[in-house]
Amino acid sequence: MEEISKKDVKHVAKLAELDIREDEIDRFVDQLNIVLKHAGKINEIDTTNVEPTSHATNIINIFRDDIVKKCISKKDALLNSPKTIEDLFEVPLIIEE
């Protein structure tokens, strides 16, 4: 498995919406490479005709009747928001120039 580069780390950080400082990048590159090298071992095992498991129980779909139940109030929903305006969440400008 190829090594992860500085460029890869920057790209992945961007995908994950994280700012990584220049002085942190080398450390992350080293640490991620060590972990990925170990994780890459999974490719040493033959998995031909093996189905992937995404879940440890056999439950597939859970259905229930569509009944309206009590839900949280607007006031409660806004209680933990760092910034609200009247009964709305307030956010900065979404469409960038």
Binding site: P52, D76, K83
Partner: protein, 502 residues
């Protein structure tokens, strides 16, 4: 005679005394509060203590327990004759389980001020059982870690040796139980986070079958692996607490339909004829010799009790840690995308655009280990790497499940060490993620298979506890409790920090 301090008693002992009206819930909580004063500044188990509310709640419960009624002949009887088990008993809860109106930080700065507007299902259950919440315990940020050093707030100290870690991520819960700051605690286990700290603190920790305990209100880390479970000082308390938290919940779509069981009925002394498999792959390289020695002594104890022990091999376990460090971060990277600074949690200041708010909030709010795992998961899921990492890891997961299925045809339970060594020094593995990850090498396969496992003390090295892991097939918690109970009776472990002055 000097009256014995109540904080030293197990939940069952406290409950029995309350039933006989020899002690009150108030006296119990008061003594726990005193113990907290003695040790909390040194051990630092809790992020938030709830002791004032706990005392008020205890007084309320006492009114109900002690309510008398006059009967014929001028005598009094108690209106509530039989007190439900664990009524009035204190419990600590890991800080990733949401508690209405009480700070729930998940060990992270990003949720530093978060006060949930609802209770998790397990919290509802402990409230309905009239148990008393002592506080929220310290943990590695988002449960990512094996030492509590990744907590955004502080590191919890192991009560056996304050220079050492208590394990993690439920380190606060395990330390609090070990030192007498609560008789019972809830932890959560994604790759070993209940069993590993229980082992390092010399207490009992059970990870139930995936789906047995509702995860509604548990802040998600890796949804296909996370499970809530009890941390206690003995197996009997473990069974009592599991009775309360297990059960189907329509609010958790991964919760399994299953008839309610009374786990205390498995507290019986008889395991003759029990077939125990010793996992070869977890008794080899990377496991300290003294740990193997303690496990071999445990095997002798099991044999003396009439159990049949034999070494068995699960070849796919060699790849469990590698598969886990793809699957868990991949799920985490997706679960943690919700921390956007809008509806709850931290929001970075002085941001001009939406995107910079999102990015700065996450960069300021998450610690290094969380960032590492988000990046690792994002990478494993990204184009060009998905097949080699994520899909392959899921296939390895299937092989691990198959290996367990195969050996459970021949054996009732399996045993291994819980951890490769005793508690390590604070700071020793902090800068070296892979070495830290290796401390979960024995516990991770169980989460991947979704089966239950328990850790119980089985020895000491340099006055630090060693844990024995017992593993059972899906929904065989009863068998785990029975096996562990028999071992515990015979082994007779002394939890020293409980008697220690700090």
């Amino acid at each position: 005679m000097v009256k014995e301090r109540l904080y030293k008693l197990s939940a069952k002992e406290l409950s029995d005394l309350m039933s006989k009206r020899e002690i009150s819930s108030y006296e119990t909580v008061k003594d726990i509060a005193e113990r907290m004063e003695e040790v909390e500044t040194i051990v630092k188990s809790y992020i938030t203590t709830n002791i004032y509310k706990a005392i008020a709640a205890a007084r309320k419960i006492d009114k109900f327990i002690y309510k008398k009624k006059r009967i014929r002949g001028g005598k009094f009887i108690y209106r509530t004759k039989n007190i439900e088990p664990l009524t009035g008993i204190p419990i600590a809860v890991k800080d990733n389980i949401t508690t209405k109106g009480i700070h729930t930080t998940c060990g992270s700065n990003i949720l530093g001020n978060y006060k949930p507007i609802y209770d998790a299902t397990v919290i509802n259950k402990i409230k309905e059982s009239n148990m008393i919440l002592t506080g929220k315990t310290n943990m590695d940020e988002f449960a990512m870690g094996s030492s509590t050093e990744n907590s955004s707030f502080w590191t919890t100290h192991n009560p056996w040796n304050l220079n050492n870690v208590p394990g993690g991520s439920s380190g606060g819960s395990a330390a609090a139980v070990a030192v007498g700051e609560t008789p019972l605690a809830l932890g959560t286990d994604t790759g070993g986070s209940i069993r590993q700290p229980a082992a390092l603190c010399g207490v009992v920790g059970l990870k139930p079958t995936y789906g047995l305990v509702s995860r509604f209100g548990l802040i998600a880390f890796a949804s296909s692996l996370d499970q809530i479970g009890p941390i206690t000082r003995n197996v009997q308390d473990c069974a009592l607490l599991l009775n309360i938290i297990a059960g189907h919940d329509s609010l958790d779509s991964t919760s399994v339909f299953k008839d309610k069981e009374d786990y205390t009925k498995y507290l019986k002394e008889d395991i003759s004829g029990l077939k125990i498999g010793i996992i070869k792959e977890l008794m080899g390289e990377g496991i300290s010799n003294y740990v193997k020695g303690a496990v071999y002594k445990a095997i002798n104890i099991f044999s003396s009790l009439g159990a049949f022990c034999e070494e068995i091999s699960l070849p796919s376990l060699k790849f469990a840690l590698s598969a886990y460090y793809i699957i868990a971060p991949a799920e985490a990277s997706s679960n943690l995308a919700r921390y956007d600074g809008i509806r709850y949690g931290l929001r970075a200041k002085k941001v001009k655009s939406f995107r910079s708010m999102y990015r700065k909030t996450r960069s300021q709010g998450f610690g290094d280990e969380v960032k590492r795992r988000i990046m690792l998961g994002t990478y494993a899921l990204s184009r060009g790497y998905y097949e080699a990492y994520y899909l392959q890891a899921q296939k390895v997961r299937t092989l691990i499940i198959n290996d367990f299925k195969k050996v459970f045809k021949k054996f009732d339970v399996l045993i291994s060490p819980t951890t490769p060594s005793v508690a390590f020094k604070i700071g020793e593995k902090f800068e070296d993620p892979l070495t830290m990850y290796l401390s979960d090498i024995c516990t991770i396969p169980v989460n991947l298979a979704g089966i239950p496992a328990i850790s119980i003390p089985c020895g000491l090295k340099n006055n630090l506890p060693i844990g024995l892991q017992i593993i059972a097939p899906h929904f065989e918690e009863g068998l785990l409790i029975k096996t562990a109970y028999n071992f515990e009776k015979k082994f007779n472990f002394k939890l020293k920090p409980l008697y220690r002055k700090f």
